[in-house]
Subunit: 221 residues, 4 copies
């Protein structure tokens, strides 16, 4: 495990060491960019280590200096994707004073992120299922990914609380939204949405509205 799989904070580093680390980090992220591109264009199956390496201008072997395995590349990709998603939902929620607005904005941001970045959706599906077998990367990355996913939805949970939902109700609301959003995104992604003649964004908005008014009804008694 000589690869940079996790970004290590070490003792205070000398200047050239710092520079080297910065370069290393940059290369890592260039590789991840290439991987994302391959993922987007070739899909899951085509995203082999070889093709990622080639896209990044590397020999396959060279990737192993930056990531300890193919799965590690995927995991890093997903982690970074979830970071961006979290930033998106947080930013959306932060733009609203009222809890209802924040809830709706965060939910919509979640949906929009994946609707506009289908590669990230693919990636998430892949890693969160591990080839559809219920495992997800052999438990090493799993807890971290779960946490990152949860962080992504945190703004929704907070807004639910501000709307008056208790802990349990808040969790349920978030779970409901997540399941629904995932389902709609799947429909969009596979173009099955056509079968039903629905506008996915409207579906999501409607769900969010109902959720907000549901909470209010309960909260007001």
């Amino acid at each position: 495990m000589t690869a940079n799989d996790s970004l290590r904070r070490r003792a205070p580093a000398s200047a050239p060491a710092k520079r080297r680390q910065a370069v290393s980090l940059l290369k890592r992220s260039l590789i991840l960019d290439a991987a994302r591109a391959v993922f987007e264009s070739e899909g899951l199956e085509g995203a082999s280590l070889r093709s990622i390496a080639k896209a990044a201008g590397y020999t396959p072997a060279a990737l192993y200096f930056h990531f300890s395995s193919k799965e590690a590349v995927y995991a890093a990709l997903l982690a970074e994707s979830l970071d961006r998603l979290k930033a998106a939902t947080e930013a959306a929620a932060a733009g609203h004073d009222d809890a209802a607005g924040a809830f709706r904005a965060a939910g919509l941001a979640f949906f929009t992120f994946y609707a506009e970045n289908p590669g990230d959706l693919d990636l998430g599906f892949y890693l969160f299922r591990g080839g559809m077998k219920p495992q997800g990367l052999g438990r090493d990355f799993d807890p971290g990914l779960n946490g990152a996913l949860a962080a992504t939805l945190a703004p929704l949970g907070r807004a639910a609380g501000q709307l008056g939902a208790d802990e349990a109700a808040g969790e349920r609301l978030v779970a409901e939204f997540f399941a629904y959003a995932v389902g709609v995104l799947l429909l969009v992604h596979t173009r099955r949405i056509r079968m039903f003649g629905q506008d996915p964004r409207a579906m999501i908005e409607r769900h969010l509205d109902l959720a907000v008014s549901g909470v209010r009804r309960v909260a007001l008694g």
Copy 2:
């Protein structure tokens, strides 16, 4: 393309021809049985043509007399899976006089079918996305599969109509249920449901109840 991919109706056949066709059909279905077993036990990744062939007691090459490709086997499997699912939702709906009961029962049957047969879920996800790239088998099988999927949900649509929903509202209700059910099933299948501490069946039932009462509220004005 000598394979029986679709069951061709030809001009009136002689008796021995009929017998031969019947035998052929039987073999096809035996292969599909084997494939289903492999799918259930090995998952998507393990379900190679080789392993299906072995499970069916055939050489890989032999399968090409019955199906034109590996994907064709999958497609046949999915078609048959959707048939069983349709039977399940229809039967569930048929057990209820009232539209609300029928709606709920059909929805629950849909969910239960996939919850209890994760192999079928895998298969559906795989084929309805074609490796997550939006194609689904190169358009050959697609329309048929779409139709079969729709048939699966038809009882829900009919019940919605009986509940007073107009055509558009009915379609929307079905789409909403489908998206939600798919999302919940994905959560269950990937064990992410744990993250949220929810009972998936309760989630589905709650959704169905809300849908029914929503329609009623609108229908009653």
Copy 3:
């Protein structure tokens, strides 16, 4: 395990089936010839599946129809080598009426076989040690190989018996000869024999003479 790893005797075969089996056997042996050639010229390390396949005029994948793994090729090679060796020692012993002559002739034949076929020696060393770690092929082939090796030395044991050695003494004599012969062959093979300025064949003959006279002394009391 669809490969012909062991030569199966089945129910009486039809004529074309027989022909096919014969062809298959021939191809197997051609592959083994190629493997032996590679072994001889490239040594242990160079005898990869790829190079064997290339030498045999095959794709690597094609070999898997004839042998289930690289190790299986090696094992077949060794088995066949031991067969030839056994034939050699048996023939040598059969050429002598007297037990002493048979003992010496069989021992010398053993030595000569390996002295003249260093590739077989390599192979034996490789497989009987499994990369020098004490295993030898994961126990699957091991018992069979042990038996084949023992068969190779059987003429020596029989002759020892005729010379008057009891069971235990006979076994010891065979073990001593085998160890010594292996040691001398190793010296020859690695050219270390030069260090000692000895003629290997004379070393072996001397050992055999001493063994015979030793048995006699004991037997005569």
Copy 4:
């Protein structure tokens, strides 16, 4: 070739140069210690440059400052192993006043050394055959290793002389012992000794006894 493959004696060195050389020597020996450990625990196959480097707390690249190649590491290891072996046989012989005792003790020490340090045996086999192809490291290391090996057996030769053997007989005795010991060790190492139901140490002792009494018989006329 900047590496310290052989310990070069140069023109009289300055004090700091001496210090540097001492440090270098120490590092070399630390690396060899690590290599020996890897060899013992992982065997030949596992003893890659990478794993040796890791065990020594170095990058693979760093080893090239101390050794010019992987084979050079092996060679150094073997040289040092032979030194230890020589010390063992010399010490054993030194413990006996009588030639017969010295001969037996040295021989037994030789056997015991390898029986108890299978890693050293592995190494010896590997380097003395160069992948079983008759070369042994491309002649660079060879003469030195031959000498070191001979030194290892020198106590036996001296004792043979004291027993009355002439030069030629002494050499023959040593060669015979060496071959036999190597053979027995190979049997032990590969666990083939089981096939013959013999105790290896007893085999060696018997051989030594016979050798001693053989010399005496001849010497006494």
